[in-house]
């Protein structure tokens, strides 16, 4: 029986792992342990671990790591706390493989600990380009990962150019798109009742995180977005940002802009979030979901600032700076039938055929764990 340890730190990463965990559950030769940390365990962020518990998944460890303060210092130090916790967890669980995701420090700490302990690391969303700190974190994880799952050929090519060996690179597609493709989301009438949405009015979904390398400017950046929403008087669902440095100032700014047409949520369940991607008329902010998930739903995304600067994008994206007037006019343009009409699902750079999780799980099951896998070398 092959035992796979999986780390999840927030709703966004859980949405990648959910379909994978379901498939692992169906495989008699595989078992998993879910390690839950960071945002999932914090009431301020909606205590999203409860969603995982409700779904009956096997959580073996809850590692509290987040120091209060939400500054670059506490952000770095919190990762140190996770590094200590995850090391003990892996020592106790003795998994055969560790599965991490994306470009977050949480994943890097986990990959680093596992690598030091000679446990093979598999990395989902490897090789993509994204913003500065997160982007470099992603490629640092690549160095410590033994198996790379790329969401498309472009990401795979970047892994090759980074000197990774061919046998480690697998083009699987983006697993977080699987459930969207298969239609696993909350229906419109349920969302309308639970979140007080008027389905006859246009709906904006706003998700804006602090940009870690622009620490101290998040409050002003969020104000521009909120002023734009208020000028538009658009029915809006606004979700709290992640725990990155500067997030507390953003949260306070959001709370101050309470208007009758704005609804604020600490977090949403995965099926609610997916359902909103389907029924919303525009997404606003700087979340990667505007670039990865939104094109699958043909949802226009107004992407603000440089957080997604280097990320590949489809024609659903309108890039704007942190300026309310530009945001207002971009949202107006995004809401026109002409703009919506030109969004072509096929041009998304992320493979979303609904089978990425299947490919990931098959590789996790079949890959031979030997010296060839465990001993890494650079090919340049």
């Amino acid at each position: 029986m092959r035992h796979i340890a999986i780390l999840t730190e927030a709703r966004s990463s859980y949405s990648y792992f959910r379909p994978i965990v379901r498939l692992i559950d169906e495989e008699p030769d595989l078992q998993y342990s879910l390690i839950v940390t960071n945002q999932h365990l914090l009431p301020t962020f909606g205590y999203s671990v409860e969603e995982i518990e409700r779904e009956g998944l096997n959580i073996t460890d809850k590692i509290h790591m987040t120091l209060d303060g939400y500054t670059p210092v506490t952000q770095a130090k919190s990762l140190g706390v996770l590094m200590l916790g995850i090391t003990d967890t892996l020592a106790r669980l003795q998994p055969d493989l560790v599965l991490v995701l994306g470009d977050r420090g949480d994943s890097l700490m986990t990959a680093l600990a596992a690598f030091q302990m000679n446990i093979p690391v598999a990395h989902i969303q490897a090789g993509e380009r994204s913003g500065n700190i997160d982007g470099m974190t992603r490629h640092a994880i690549t160095r410590f990962a033994h198996i790379h799952f790329a969401s498309g050929p472009d990401a795979a090519e970047r892994l090759r150019k980074m000197g990774e060996e061919e046998h480690r690179i697998h083009v699987t597609g983006a697993p977080q798109l699987d459930e969207l493709v298969h239609g696993k989301f909350a229906p419109a009438d349920e969302l309308a009742a639970d979140l007080g949405i008027d389905l006859d009015k246009p709906l904006a979904l706003v998700l804006q995180h602090p940009v870690t390398e622009e620490f101290g400017r998040g409050e002003d950046q969020m104000r521009e977005t909120l002023e734009a929403i208020c000028e538009l008087e658009l029915q809006t669902i606004l979700i709290f940002p992640n725990t990155d440095a500067g997030s507390d100032a953003l949260r306070l700014m959001i709370e101050r802009y309470h208007r009758p047409f704005i609804r604020v949520e600490r977090t949403l369940s995965h099926r609610q979030f997916s359902g909103l991607l389907r029924i919303a008329d525009v997404m606003v902010g700087n979340s990667s979901s505007g670039l990865i998930e939104a094109p699958v739903m043909r949802l226009p995304a107004v992407n603000i600032g440089g957080r997604q600067r280097d990320r590949a994008r489809a024609t659903n994206v309108i890039d704007v700076p942190y300026e309310r007037a530009e945001i207002v006019s971009a949202v107006r343009r995004a809401l026109t039938p002409e703009f919506k009409g030109q969004i072509d699902q096929a041009n998304s750079p992320y493979i979303g055929d609904g089978r990425a999780s299947e490919r990931v799980v098959r590789i996790l099951k079949d890959i031979v764990i030997d010296a060839n896998l465990l001993t890494k070398q650079l090919v340049y």
């Binding site: 009431p43 301020t44 205590y47 949260r251 306070l252 709370e255 101050r256 309470h258 208007r259 604020v264």
Partner: protein, 115 residues
């Protein structure tokens, strides 16, 4: 019996314990949370109970557990406000200006004991 607005208001940086003290004083099971004079939330007995079930400490700030989308009203007519609070099924309804600044609270009932 006129109420003291101060008994119904806590600041966004105040602790859960402080909110409990205000609720004990005002006898209406909830307080309004403000940042300056802007209404940013409401905290009720039930929110505090759920927080404690999640092992949140009384010294934690109310901002982490408050309801983020409280019902408010800009209605100035008191009989209409009375109707609103009954429809909303809340004990404390913040009365605000158009820019969400707290003016008063509408209460679902008179305090049991004003002494």
């Amino acid at each position: 019996m006129a109420h003291s607005l101060d008994d119904f208001v806590v600041d966004v940086t105040d602790t859960i314990r402080f909110a409990m003290e205000k609720i004990e004083l005002n006898k209406h099971r909830a307080v309004v949370v403000v940042d300056g004079s802007t209404v940013v939330g409401v905290v009720s007995d039930g929110d505090i109970r759920r927080a404690f079930l999640h092992n949140v400490l009384p010294i934690a700030p109310v901002s982490g557990i408050m309801q983020l989308n409280p019902r408010t009203t800009t209605e100035s007519d008191s009989s209409k406000r009375r109707q609103l609070i009954q429809d909303a099924r809340v004990t404390v309804l913040p009365v605000v200006t158009d820019d969400n600044s707290l003016v008063d609270v509408e209460l679902a009932y008179e305090p049991f004991d004003a002494a």
